[in-house]
Point group: C2
Chain length 334, copies 2
Amino acid sequence: MAEEKKRTTRRITSVDVAREAGLSRATVSFVLNDTPGQSIPEATRQRVLQAAERLGYTPYAPARTLRSGRSDVAVFVLPDWPQGPTMAAFVERAAQVLSRAGLTLVTHVHTGDEQGLARLWTALTPAAVFGMRPFTSGELAGMRRAGISAVLPAAEEPGSDVSTTLWARGVGRLQAEHLIGKGHTRLAYALSDEPRLAALGRGRSEGAAQACAQAGLAAPTVTTIALDTEVTARVVEGWRGDVSAVCAYNDEVALAILAGMRTLGLSAPADLAVIGADDIPGGRFAAPPLTTVAQNSGELGIRIAEALLRTLEGQAPDLNLLPGDIQIVERASA
Amino acid sequence: MAEEKKRTTRRITSVDVAREAGLSRATVSFVLNDTPGQSIPEATRQRVLQAAERLGYTPYAPARTLRSGRSDVAVFVLPDWPQGPTMAAFVERAAQVLSRAGLTLVTHVHTGDEQGLARLWTALTPAAVFGMRPFTSGELAGMRRAGISAVLPAAEEPGSDVSTTLWARGVGRLQAEHLIGKGHTRLAYALSDEPRLAALGRGRSEGAAQACAQAGLAAPTVTTIALDTEVTARVVEGWRGDVSAVCAYNDEVALAILAGMRTLGLSAPADLAVIGADDIPGGRFAAPPLTTVAQNSGELGIRIAEALLRTLEGQAPDLNLLPGDIQIVERASA
DNA sequence: GTCGGCAGCTTACACGTGATAGTTCCGGGT
DNA sequence: ACCCGGAACTATCACGTGTAAGCTGCCGAC
């Protein structure tokens, strides 16, 4: 029966607009897309625009994508570790830049299962994809098959792993350089025991080791600690008399260390200097206020987005870490 | 010339699979979709599957969506205020549930501009949309035109505003009830000066006011404070002798208050009890450790996802706040 | 007066998929 | 001898869009 077809309210298509305006569908398309090389009198143009407005016409993205072969979606694949305000600023600024180019940015948290990513670009067919870790060759092949034209970081170029390698090392390096500048000669590095943060932690501690080597110092003692006051207190006791300053993987680890020190009656930076990373809001209100490394992630988001757009046009990405992307925020703890 | 067409590597379609398998495209479709009502011998089935595997065939989402009228994408529209681990768990669990139903979840941060949302569902044509705030009637009309079948919260039902009203009030109510249970009779509520958090803050403070009214107490004094130690110190001085306990909008505000108290030589909870909200990791390491309200956001994510799926099938959403969704985490500060 | 050219349209195809309505072939019942 | 019915496929349409190609007047130029 006809009821079956009437069940779902019919979509308004350009055919409806054409009928409403008394013109052909092609003319409607020419007007709505400002197709160059067409001569359309202003009267006709207005007739189409008003008809479209009256009916509330919205072009149907799947059909448009099917026809043109290109979608207006960009997707950022985020890791499933907890994201702070740093990532929020990153995504927000990137979205602004992409939006100006007509792209809509969405994010997808990747929980680690193999086929989750495949289903993502199968369901979305984005024009561009950015990930925090380099994609495997299998993933890249799948994306190419799905017709995705711009991918960052492209696994082919080894130095392009923005977050895990380059970026993380920069953070660790800056932490260590600050402590060395304060006269410390024997450092420790405290990693989080959250397994998903292991790769990033390795990057940051390697950066600190680089800075130490450059200053002619021994590499930091690397310890993985649980976020528990009693546990950190014991670790701090182990450090006493050996190291005079500690780089924490992030501000939360740093706060845990400060809490452990507090139970021992120790205080930073006199007994042990502590520096964090990521500049979470709570760090300012610690006792003592936490010295940390802030990442200008908004700026990075803008540059990533611009690199994606450049890739879409077939140019080289050109993505580098700039001075000023990472900064020391000096408070009292180091 | 033909070069133009060869420029972009051709997409592998079901036509290619059909040719490879020596069958028609229809048969390929029947096999790959397990279309019921077809009798296909196992040999043919394997022939198709292996051909598809060999060529690395992936169905093209836009064409599939165009044909079926339904996409496999769900999108969560998130506000642009900074998101903590609470929201991460929420999205992660919801994604799991939706994934089991064949839907891919993506998130989109909405920066507030009017046409950003319109472009979102124009570019994505999601099957389902969830937002943290109720949508305006104009937005709903646009989504219906774009063919989105499930939207939560639907603006029609007034009590369905999960986050801003129901959820936020529940948090404020629990904060106040805990303090009242500790014997406090005169409370204050401290809001953040971040303008984007104003609506949520109003909801939480209203919940606290409800709890006070229920206990026969006066409503809390509501103060908006900047996240600055000196500013909070002055506000705390103003409270002295008047209120004995304060609910903070969130843990960051609470930490700022504790820092302000510290500069005055005061300590919680003896001089002023402080309770936060959201249970950020750093709260455990404050001095004193912060009592707060934890939201079981993972559970909520699951229920929201299930409600979306139910809506997709045409049933009523049935979305309520359950006991156990919000819990007091009692530490030392209150 | 005929004809090229251009403004102002329309007709028709392609994109890749899902599914309906067939078509062919073959074995078995009457 | 005939047909019925099911197994195993295939031909074809529809989805909504962008655009290349074609069509019709009308005006000015020779």
